[in-house]
């Protein structure tokens, strides 16, 4: 790749300004995301520990088999959650495109792609709201688990507790990401970035948004696939 031609001239810090060759805010965003990664990691590892310490666990294909507007008792495992996953991946792609448009000082491109990203985020949140509502109607909530284990034995409430806590925490991150993106959109539309002469702020919002997508990769695997 052509990275060598444009890469920073030094490979390690020899003193002077900006050791990482990125601006202060971006370094701090990375550190925040690292701490957030540990929070989500702790949640997911705790979930794994509990799952490893019990003999049975509900079958995700049995629990997550419904679809909006589908008739009662329809069996469509994995379908709805794959749509949610693709929504988040595509919104991540539009965010990259917005960041790239920012580099080229292309205000129109930034606004267009940010709007798509926001739409993707809202679509994901709507899907999650529907799923939570559906599971709640089936009797699943914190402290109540109507589903049996995969082998037909009675299951504990650990499954629903972890599911709602972790997807809820992730959903809250998506929600704050949408709010941040809306703020970025307003700033872009009111020419705040044009006045500053750079769109670096979009990048930090982008990092956060990609992190939300990254966490979903793990949540999706741990709860819906495995």
């Amino acid at each position: 790749m052509a990275t060598t031609a444009t890469a920073p001239t030094t490979k390690s810090w020899g003193g002077g300004k900006s050791p990482f060759n990125v601006e202060y805010g971006k370094v701090m965003m990375w550190y925040f995301l690292m701490s957030d990664a540990f929070t989500f990691g702790a949640f997911l590892i705790s979930y794994g520990t509990i799952r490893f310490s019990t003999n049975g666990w509900p079958d995700p294909n049995e629990v997550f088999k419904s679809f909006p507007f589908a008739p009662e008792g329809m069996n469509a495992p994995l379908v709805f959650v794959s749509i949610m996953t693709f929504i988040l991946i595509i919104s991540s792609v539009t965010m990259v495109l917005a960041v790239q448009a920012g580099h080229n000082m292309d205000k129109k491109g930034v606004v267009k792609n940010l709007i798509w990203t926001i739409i993707g985020g809202i679509a994901f949140l709507s899907c999650q709201a529907w799923e939570w509502n559906h599971l709640h109607h089936e009797g699943a909530w914190w402290g109540s688990n109507p589903f049996l284990n995969h082998d037909g034995t009675a299951s504990s409430t650990n499954f629903t507790n972890y599911f709602f806590t972790i997807t809820g925490f992730h959903g809250f991150h998506v929600f704050s990401g949408v709010i941040i993106n809306i703020i970025m959109l307003i700033m872009a539309m009111t020419n705040k970035f044009e006045e500053r002469g750079h769109y670096l702020m979009i990048e930090k919002a982008g990092l956060y948004w990609h992190f939300v997508d990254l966490v979903w990769v793990f949540v999706f695997t741990c709860f819906y696939l495995i």
Partner: protein, 149 residues
């Protein structure tokens, strides 16, 4: 500051790279889903096959995570020092995962060995009745109503 930052930002591969990564992420997700659908029909008794498929899904998950962090979050094109600052602390997760999952598994084995009640409870099959599910459904609704009032 803006000079050095800009210098660095253009190190990426541009739109072509974005398209390439999008395709890779999509393909990896589709493979994951195919394995997921495949696993539905594999009985619980074939533990080895299920474990192997789950392991494959986890490897695919790590690959997806790599592509998102390296290219979408641009970490691959950053300076080595920044990459190390981010990646090295996260290596703690390797130990966390091994230690905690091992601990959970050990706790299960201990309980299965020394706690006959626990062992017995996890072998009693519960009758899956649509009727029972409906009752629970009603119960949950009533509870919800009570909570909202």
């Amino acid at each position: 500051m803006s000079h050095t930052a800009e210098h660095n930002e253009h190190a990426g591969g541009g739109t072509k790279e974005i398209i390439r990564i999008t395709v890779i992420l999509t393909v990896l997700t589709i493979i994951e889903l195919i394995i997921g659908f495949w696993m539905i029909d594999i009985p619980l008794s074939s533990v080895g096959v299920r474990l192997a498929l789950k392991g494959t899904i986890v490897i695919l998950m790590m690959a997806k995570a790599f592509y998102i962090v390296a290219y979408f979050m641009h970490l691959k094109h950053e300076m080595k020092n920044l990459i190390m600052t981010i990646v090295v602390p996260l290596a703690l997760f390797i130990w966390f995962i091994i230690a905690f999952l091992y601990d959970g598994n050990s706790f299960k084995n201990l309980r299965n060995t020394y706690d006959p009640y626990f062992k017995e409870q996890s072998t009693i099959k519960v009758e899956k009745k649509e009727h029972g599910a409906a009752e629970k459904h009603e119960g949950a609704k009533e509870e919800g109503k009570k909570a909202s009032h």
